[in-house]
């Protein structure tokens, strides 16, 4: 009996070691990692196969809570707030709704940040390192609930009127390159 208890305890203790694995923070991205800029699909209208080329592996940005929280910090620091507010929009379109003018995929958002868009969105190519643009893109997607709940930021440093990104309901994307808009 006593023996069995100690074996069970040993197994439990060994199992607890598995919880030591920590999400990896990529503090030092490979400088030459991504030359994705010209391969990112901007719109659904293009010759040939209609496919959006793949962004970096999702685990790197979209599934890393650290990367998304960095994206949130950069979203403020690089003054995305200036036009898009905290997702509600203002001078620029809102980012917390399901309407994606230039597509909802990470690659679309990345391209929008890097290339700029008509009527005001500046291009940040060469200004923002690519990995930071991917982080911001991941954060932007978290604002409408497109990221897993355990990745999206759970609180804000400032007082916000909207709930934290983690609590945003999933909103099926609609727009030009996203799923067709539902007409009711």
């Amino acid at each position: 009996m006593r023996n069995r208890v100690s074996i069970a305890m040993t197994i439990l203790l060994l199992l607890s070691i598995t919880s030591c694995k920590r999400e990896e923070r990529q503090l030092r991205p490979d400088p030459n990692a991504s030359q994705t800029l010209n391969t990112v699909q901007v719109s659904g209208l293009n010759p040939g196969a209609n496919s959006i080329s793949s962004p970096p592996p999702a685990g790197q940005y979209e599934e890393s809570a650290y990367a998304v929280s960095q994206g949130k910090t950069l979203y403020n620091q690089y003054n995305c707030v200036g036009c898009h507010a905290n997702g509600g929009g203002g001078i620029g379109p809102p980012l917390m709704d399901n309407n994606w003018i230039y597509g909802s995929e990470p690659g679309n958002v990345f391209a929008t940040i890097m290339q700029g868009r008509p009527n005001g969105m500046p291009s940040f190519r060469n200004r923002i390192p690519e990995y930071q643009a991917w982080e911001i893109a991941a954060y932007v997607r978290s604002m409408s609930g497109l990221l897993p709940k355990d990745v999206a930021p759970s609180r804000s440093d400032q007082l916000y009127v909207k709930p934290a990104e983690q609590s945003m309901p999933y909103q099926a994307p609609a727009g030009v390159t996203g799923e067709p808009e539902e007409k009711k």
């Binding site: 030092r28 690089y78 200004r127 923002i128």
Partner: protein, 337 residues
């Protein structure tokens, strides 16, 4: 106070393991002298206690003892009991009185360190960031405000008021030869003063764990004569020098067309972001990256290209620049005296 600090040179050598100025045992101003005085008072009290305890142990050890085989008859020793309780009682009394005296003295020292005032102090605002120090010399006239980073210049022999704040988490401002520690709290401004009587460069360090690069969050205080200080301030007030040579013009263009411009300010150019240190007069500073690297072209290049290798986790992104762009950028930054 200096007189009786000189006697225990040996003890000082053991405890003051920091060389040079980075030590509370080399005070450079009235406040640090007060703190040093308190240090020595406590040191001597502890020293006497230590000697007495060691002597007591030695005496007990030297006494002859009876072996365990021999059973001693139990006997009453009333006089011995009385002596013992008297000894214990007086030891407790002395301990309580000494602790009380130390408490009073540290209170008095605290008052001495904090209590001074001045009609016309130099005011400096120090804002802690992860992981560097923003230093602002405020002025009612906005264009007379100097902003720099990590290197604090003060005039010798003058009261300096430090206004503290933090941009993110709690930091602590500590220059051991100048004053005690002072926490920098986010969203809460407090003030303390300091005074330095001997010209020189004094090092300081963040003394409150503040994240990955807490250990690489240093600063230096340059104490200089009044005229040198006003000369330095006048130079810092100027906008950055316009580049004249081909290579420095190219360097400025690299700065303005790459990621640098997103976070740094160079007054006199379009770069005006306040996220990172103000670089308007970067070449006038001795160190970069919060006292982590010397301000040499090589260190600067290494820092710009791959800051995450030198201070992993810091806020600056790696910048894979073309070699000639990097060279021009370094040359330009070196002209910003």
């Amino acid at each position: 106070m200096i007189g009786f600090s000189r006697v225990p040179l040996l003890a000082a050598g053991v405890f003051a393991s920091y060389p040079g100025d980075h030590s509370i045992l080399h005070p450079a101003g009235p406040q640090a002298s007060n703190i040093e005085w308190l240090y020595w008072v406590i040191f001597w009290i502890v020293f006497v206690v230590y000697v007495v305890v060691v002597l007591g142990f030695m005496r007990a050890g030297a006494r002859t003892y009876t072996s365990a085989d021999e059973m001693l008859p139990i006997m009453k020793d009333e006089a011995g009991d009385r002596r013992a309780s008297w000894a214990v009682g007086s030891a407790i009394t002395i301990t309580v009185l000494t602790l009380f005296a130390v408490l009073v003295m540290s209170e008095i020292t605290g008052k001495k360190v904090e209590g001074e005032t001045s009609k016309n102090p130099v005011t400096i605002q120090v804002i802690g960031h992860q992981w560097w120090w923003e230093v602002i010399y405020p002025d009612p006239q906005a264009d007379q405000t100097v902003t720099t980073a990590n290197e604090i210049h003060v005039p010798v022999g003058k009261r300096v008021v430090i206004l503290t704040n933090s941009a993110d988490v709690i930091h602590s401002f500590w220059a051991p030869s100048i004053n005690g520690k002072r926490d920098l709290l986010p969203g809460y401004s407090s003030a303390f003063w300091l005074q330095i009587d001997q010209p020189g460069v004094y090092h300081g360090q963040c003394a409150e764990f503040c994240g990955l690069q807490h250990a690489h969050m240093g600063f230096s205080i340059v104490a200089e004569r009044e005229d040198a200080f006003s000369q330095w301030k006048a130079q810092q007030l100027k906008p950055a020098q316009d580049p004249t040579e081909l290579v420095t013009v190219h360097g400025r263009d690299v700065f303005l067309s790459h990621a640098c411009v997103m976070c740094h300010t160079i007054r006199g150019t379009d770069a005006g972001s306040r996220l990172g240190p103000d670089l308007t007069h970067i070449a006038s500073r001795q160190m970069i990256a919060a006292e982590t690297l010397p301000n040499t072209p090589g260190a600067l290049a290494g820092w710009i290209v791959d800051p995450q290798r030198i201070k992993p986790g810091n806020r600056m992104s790696p910048n894979p620049l073309q070699p000639d762009d990097l060279q021009a950028l370094i040359t330009y930054l070196q002209t910003l005296k």
